[in-house]
């Protein structure tokens, strides 16, 4: 493909991506930043974990994304008795009185599965987490004596952070497979809150989603355009050094002069960001640059995805883990402030 053709193709895709973002924003108000991050994840081919209180619009957001993205959409509710096989096949007695085995939610749509939403993933058992890990990592699953592939699959999961009973904390290895963890909050803008409360169009979610244009993005082509984006957007030597410094600062923040009040910085970090984590961060930053109409990455691109791609990959020592929610934001902000580029 010639350079000009590639640029034209990238520009066309960028217009589609921005149209997709605008369309999803019609159904979900006050969540511009999460919508942008999901858009980045779609083109960086990364899976997304959503976290937020009950009723803040996580499911509506994902349904809107699935509708505008096109392809097949499946949703599974995490429960304590859910077993891995429940994702793969479904056994029952059919109308003829004979046992029948049907494909489960993962296999039902074959290769066309585009969005798989695992609701309340921390209610499911670790065995289910393991299967989900494989699907996320390999876009494939073994069933009925053969491999099934899902080239367009993107997994979205939702973790309930309110209730802790009968839940299984997702292991760090599983969390590391998610490109991003997004925190969904109720909009702070009083006007948006008023609209959510009093505008009838937000009361009937099904009808609201029906108004969205389906299949704005040709989902089958996304796996082809994603690597083009990664190859077209460059990271200069200065930028690479900056990203490396950020990575190192997540591992040894004290070396970069990062100080948090009431925290022994030498004992804070149990494990910093993984290589896979910072690789995903750079993939997301490249997509962010492309969405901004640039063919090179700047530090602000990294800043825009730094928390979402890194926060769940930094692990604190147990003495500080209980204060994680407050400390992780402080730590990442301090790292951004202390590490300079150029």
């Amino acid at each position: 493909m010639s350079a000009d053709l590639k640029q034209t193709q990238l520009a066309d895709w960028r217009q589609r991506a921005l149209a997709f973002e605008r369309e999803v924003g019609k159904a979900v108000i006050g969540l511009d930043r999460p919508i942008r991050h999901i858009l980045i994840a779609v083109f960086a081919r990364g899976h997304v974990m959503l976290e937020g209180d009950v009723g803040v619009g996580k499911t509506t957001l994902l349904r809107a994304v699935a509708r505008c993205l096109g392809g097949a959409y499946e949703r599974v509710e995490g429960t304590i008795d859910l077993m891995p096989n429940d994702l793969v096949y479904h056994t029952y007695i059919n109308e003829l009185g004979k046992p029948q085995v049907d494909p489960g939610p993962v296999l039902k749509h074959g290769e066309e599965l585009s969005v798989f939403f695992f609701n309340e993933v921390n209610r499911a058992r670790p065995q289910v987490h393991s299967l989900l890990l494989r699907i996320m990592a390999e876009h494939a699953v073994s069933a009925f004596n053969r491999e099934h592939f899902f080239p367009y699959l993107q997994v979205f999961a939702d973790r309930n952070r309110v209730e802790k009973e009968e839940t299984f904390e997702i292991p760090s290895a599983a969390r590391d497979r998610f490109m991003m963890e997004l925190h969904i909050e109720t909009p702070a803008d009083p006007a948006l809150r008023r609209a959510l409360m009093f505008d009838p169009k937000f009361h009937d979610v099904d009808r609201l989603l029906d108004t969205l244009t389906p299949g704005l993005l040709p989902y089958r082509e996304i796996p082809q355009i994603a690597p083009v984006i990664q190859q077209s957007v460059t990271a200069s030597e200065t930028l690479q050094q900056y990203a490396l410094d950020l990575w190192e600062a997540t591992r040894r923040p004290a070396d970069y002069g990062v100080k948090l009040e009431g925290v022994d910085m030498d004992r804070l970090i149990l494990a910093g960001a993984s290589a896979r984590g910072v690789s995903m961060m750079m993939r997301a930053a490249r997509v962010s640059a492309w969405l901004d109409g640039r063919d090179y990455v700047v530090p602000e691109d990294i800043h825009g995805v730094f928390r979402e791609t890194i926060a769940h990959r930094v692990f604190f020592n147990p003495v500080y883990e209980l204060r994680r929610t407050a400390l992780i934001d402080e730590l990442l902000d301090a790292i951004r402030q202390r590490v300079a580029a150029p």
Binding site: T234, S236, T238, L239, V298, E300, Q337, R338, A340, P342
Partner: protein
């Protein structure tokens, strides 16, 4: 008969002396005054009089015979009466004060007094004679009261001045330190440039003038000055926040926006800009002026 005459006379004289002593109800005493008789007194003066009586063991003064403090006549009063007894003697110290104002020299006397002693087989009394005292006026004769210049009777008490030089030294030291700090903050102490990042940036930029590849280094110096001023890394998208915290640089907002665009092109888009050094130097000089005004 003649040979007995001298001893008999001695015996008789001793007996007479003993009989006379036995009949005399006074004890041996001496009287001392703290001022000599030539001294004159004016109103307010204190006169000390000691009556020292030789006594034996077990003899003590009857407190009832001591004079009571208070006025004793029209011109004097007793301020204080103190006693001090040992086995050999008893000292009675009486402090009088003159409160009589006279127009000319006068002579008065402190009245006599009788002190009684108890114990030791007898009760001998001590008669202290009257004590003449010369009293002088406070003001010279012939001068009306309204024309009298009040004079101190005594020179002013000497006062120690030792704390004042210390306080003066401390004050001068604090003032000097403050002055040095002010000069340092304003960059007027060349050996100690102080917290003036753009001043240092200008100096370092001038050193780059003859360097072949100076554009990137110039941008780096400006970035470092901005970061040092802000106390954190400043990026293009945080420029407004920086200007909110440092409104002194609001006057070069446009230049700063241009600088970040230039830096982005140079460091991240890897574009060449041959004019970067001159632009950085100009911006640094403007920033230095604003920095100096605000410091």
């Amino acid at each position: 008969m003649r040979k007995f005459a001298l001893p008999l006379a001695i015996i008789l004289s001793v007996a007479v002396a003993l009989l006379m002593n036995a009949n005399d109800g006074t004890a041996p005493a001496r009287f001392e005054s703290q001022d000599d008789h030539a001294a004159t007194h004016t109103m307010g003066d204190l006169i000390l009089r000691d009556i020292v009586v030789s006594t034996g063991p077990g003899v003590h003064i009857d407190p009832a015979s001591l004079p009571a403090p208070g006025a004793i006549n029209d011109w004097a009063e007793i301020r204080k009466v103190e006693t001090d007894s040992t086995d050999e003697q008893t000292r009675v110290r009486i402090t009088y004060q003159v409160f009589y104002g006279v127009r000319g020299p006068e002579t008065a006397e402190l009245p006599p007094m009788r002190l009684r002693f108890e114990g030791g087989g007898g009760s001998p009394d001590v008669e202290a004679p009257a004590l003449p005292v010369s009293v002088m006026p406070l003001i010279p004769p012939g001068i009306p009261d309204e024309k009298v210049a009040i004079r101190a009777l005594r020179p002013a008490e000497p006062r120690t001045y030792s704390p004042y030089p210390q306080w003066l030294a401390l004050g001068l030291g604090a003032f000097g330190a403050g002055l040095v700090y002010l000069l340092w903050m304003r960059g007027l102490l060349p050996p100690f440039a102080g917290p003036l990042p753009f001043r240092r940036a200008c100096r370092d930029l001038q050193r780059l003038a003859d360097q072949p590849s100076r554009d990137r280094a110039a941008c780096l110096l400006l970035h470092r000055a901005l970061n040092e001023t802000a106390g954190e890394a400043v990026f293009g998208n945080r420029l407004e926040a920086f200007l909110e915290r440092h409104p002194e640089f609001a006057g070069i907002r446009e230049e700063l926006v241009e600088f970040f665009a230039l830096s982005r092109e140079m460091f991240f888009a890897e574009a060449a800009d041959g004019d970067a050094y001159a632009r950085c130097l100009k911006l640094a000089r403007r920033a230095r002026r604003l920095e100096r005004k605000s410091s």
